[in-house]
């Protein structure tokens, strides 16, 4: 792969990652959100694969396949089934309206660029220049977690946050060692599965999956 081609593919993958994160803020349909999440997982996998091919690193290519299986296939399927099983279709009343959320995402992206200055050093290469995008994805994941009321939307926020962290890991350090990556992916998958079971129980006990119903425990 040529240098310019590599930079272009890298840039496109990073672009899809941030775009899918921002669109999450705008979409209200849960099935649409799940599709966006699958797309984001695929983009992350492509990013890892691109860097793996460029560096001729078979370990990274293996990680790309693993990420594709978990983030683009397994987790979206689990979330889709949860949505179907609980009958939740739309995120009706997020705590802030989509317009404000989109404006906030612009602010967060700016913050990400400012915050990544000390991390990047004097002469960042093509991969490192995309680090602020990863930080922006993390921050948008946080925003989703904080502003969504549906259990499934909160789960999606968690996975977006995790995708952002995986992206930063890849771009700053060339990915973490394989053992750690395996453990991390397995943990994320298990957390999603556990929250899926809890969502089912919430539906059973509360009759809905609106997290605003969780108000019994407080001081």
């Amino acid at each position: 792969m040529t240098d310019a081609g590599f930079t272009q593919v890298l840039g496109s993958c990073a672009g899809v990652l941030i775009l899918t994160a921002v669109l999450q803020l705008w979409r209200r349909s849960l099935s649409g959100s799940v599709t966006l999440l699958a797309l984001q997982g695929a983009a992350l996998s492509a990013l890892i694969g691109t860097i793996g091919v460029a560096a001729a690193d078979p370990e990274l290519i293996g990680v790309a396949v693993l990420v594709l299986a978990i983030k683009a296939v397994a987790i979206p399927i689990v979330l889709g089934r949860t949505a179907a099983a609980t009958g939740a279709r739309r995120e009706d009343a997020p705590r802030i309206n989509p317009t404000a959320a989109l404006l906030l995402s612009a602010v967060l992206t700016t913050v990400a660029y400012l915050a990544s200055r000390p991390i990047l050093g004097a002469a960042p290469d093509a991969a490192q220049r995309a680090v602020p995008v990863g930080i922006a994805v993390v921050l948008i994941g946080f925003l989703l977690l904080l502003t969504r009321r549906q259990a499934i939307s909160q789960l999606i926020g968690f996975v977006v946050l995790d995708n952002g962290i995986a992206m930063i890991a890849l771009l700053t350090a060339g990915g973490v060692p394989l053992v750690v990556e395996l453990g991390v992916s397995l943990d994320v998958l298990l957390v999603v599965l556990i929250l899926r079971v809890l969502t089912g129980r919430l539906k059973h006990v509360f009759g809905a999956t609106d997290l605003d119903d969780l108000t019994e425990l407080h001081d």
């Binding site: 930063i168 957390v191 556990i194 079971v197 809890l198 006990v205």
Partner: protein
């Protein structure tokens, strides 16, 4: 020696599998106790072994051959061996005392299948904590700590009612997000080593002065990692999941979470502090830990005073003790760090005891409200006496070891020129003391014939021996200067104690 490490990790997993497979058998009830004994024995064995050789490295044949890091993924040194022994001791107290009572009337050989699953999850939980102690790799340690969230999620939601589900949801979401932040920090620490040209996640190498590191990345990475693990350790302002989870989980699970899970997360903070201090000096970590510690004490003081629920009151007391540990870590130096390690043991023994007793009080009285329980000493001496003793130990009445460790932390603080912080901490500790003492007196003393006793009270059941042993140990540890001092001193040396 590597065999001990493998045994400590392998047996809990094996027990968990066996409990899952034969979950209708009665013996599965004891699986978690066996797993605790394994952790305790292997911890003590490693303490003894590391005393002569200082460091055992197990070159994990299967998993490390593909790794580029030097050395093994698993490692036992004085500190991790001591911490493993603490896990075992606390877990033994919690699981033995939390054992379902035998005299319910079923003499058949089978039990509810839910019980087998419960035991299996407890064993896996213990295995995850063991792995967190024995991993010489920040990434693997992270995976183990996240695994503790996964294994305890269903244990917290065990009761299945609205409150338990709410607690479980908040616990899993906040816990996972918190440790995700820690992972971001670990990633940046890893990036700092790749920038230096020698990628590694081994905390031994990271703390080594010869390791080339990028200071800016370590500064940001260590801060994020400590922030993330502080969520799991229950330090304010990231503590909000803790009172919910600890008050809704079954007694034995609250006991384990409060006694050891918090300190497992705190152990990660101690390790990261060593890395940061070696490169950047003590200032950045001291600021963070001091803020977290004082805030935790403030939150605990404010909410214990007005607390209507005694299980939540105990949860806030855990936040108080974690705050004290953070203060000790912020102060640094051999005296404070030694006191922190001893405090982890003392709190680890006293807190599970009182959580288990609180669980029995809940069963006997049918309410977890403080104003619903009166005159316990007159009506239920078998509950009131251990409750009072454990509370006295937690409050730091001598000869409780917590008295000595708290004094040591405060003295070390004054020595290091943190007098203002210690003055604030002492004031808050006094408020907490008053609050806890007032609630305890309201519950235990007073006449038996008040309104609360109108309910037909259930006879309390459950083993008293583990509670007695644990509380006796809390009382004598402070005087076991001989053997324990060496162990603690070696552990402090591993943390780069500047002695």
């Amino acid at each position: 020696m590597a065999a001990v490490i493998w045994l400590a990790l392998g047996l809990p997993t094996l027990l968990a599998t066996a409990s899952m497979l034969s979950r209708r058998r009665r013996w599965t009830r004891y699986a978690a106790i066996i797993a605790s004994v394994v952790a305790l024995v292997s911890g003590i064995a490693l303490v003894v072994l590391t005393r002569s050789t200082r460091a055992v490295t197990s070159t994990a044949a299967v998993t490390t051959t593909a790794m580029t890091t030097a050395g093994g993924i698993l490692r036992a040194d004085s500190l991790s061996a001591y911490m493993l022994a603490v896990v075992g001791l606390v877990a033994l107290t919690a699981t033995w005392a939390g054992l379902p009572s035998k005299d319910i009337g079923d003499s058949s050989d089978s039990v509810d299948p839910g019980e087998g699953t419960y035991s299996a999850l407890l064993c896996l939980f213990l295995g995850a904590m063991t792995l967190a102690r024995l991993a010489d790799n920040l990434g693997v340690m992270w995976v183990a700590i996240e695994a503790t969230t996964i294994t305890t999620a269903f244990l917290v939601g065990q009761h299945g009612d609205r409150r338990a589900l709410e607690a479980a949801w908040k616990y899993v979401v906040l816990g996972s997000v918190g440790v995700s932040i820690a992972f971001l920090g670990i990633v940046l620490i890893y990036a700092a080593t790749t920038a230096g040209g020698a990628p590694t996640l081994s905390w031994v190498l990271l703390a080594h002065p010869a390791q080339p590191l990028d200071p800016d990345l370590i500064r940001v990475g260590a801060a994020l990692a400590v922030l993330g693990f502080a969520t799991k350790a229950g330090l304010a302002p990231m503590h909000s999941w803790l009172p919910d989870a600890h008050s809704q989980a079954p007694a034995a699970v609250s006991a384990l979470m409060s006694g050891v899970l918090l300190s497992v997360a705190f152990y990660a903070i101690l390790r990261i502090r060593t890395i940061s201090d070696a490169l950047l000096g003590p200032t950045p970590m001291r600021g963070m830990l001091l803020t977290g510690g004082l805030l935790s004490l403030l939150v605990a003081a404010a909410l214990i005073l007005t607390q209507p629920d005694y299980k939540r009151m105990l949860a806030y007391s855990s936040i108080e003790h974690m705050g004290l540990l953070a203060l000790g870590a912020a102060i640094g130096g051999p005296l404070a760090i030694g006191a922190v390690l001893l405090h982890i043991l003392g709190h680890g023994l006293a807190k599970p005891s009182i959580f288990v007793v609180a669980g029995r009080i809940l069963t006997a009285e049918g309410t977890s409200r403080i104003d619903g329980v009166h005159g316990l000493l007159a009506r239920q001496p078998r509950l009131a006496v251990p409750f009072l003793t454990a509370m006295a130990a937690l409050l730091g009445f001598p000869p409780s070891v917590l008295f000595f460790t708290e004094v040591a932390i405060v003295v070390a603080g004054f020595q290091q020129g943190l007098g203002w912080a210690m003055a604030v901490a002492l004031t808050l500790l006094l408020v907490i003391f008053a609050g806890l003492a007032r609630h305890t007196v309201n519950m235990t003393l007073g006449k038996a014939d008040s309104t609360g006793s109108a309910l037909p009270s259930v006879r309390p059941s459950g083993a008293m021996i583990p509670l007695g042993l644990a509380l006796a140990l809390v009382a004598v540890i402070g005087f076991l200067a001989g053997p324990l001092r060496d162990v603690i001193a070696l552990a402090v040396a591993t943390l780069g104690g500047t002695s």
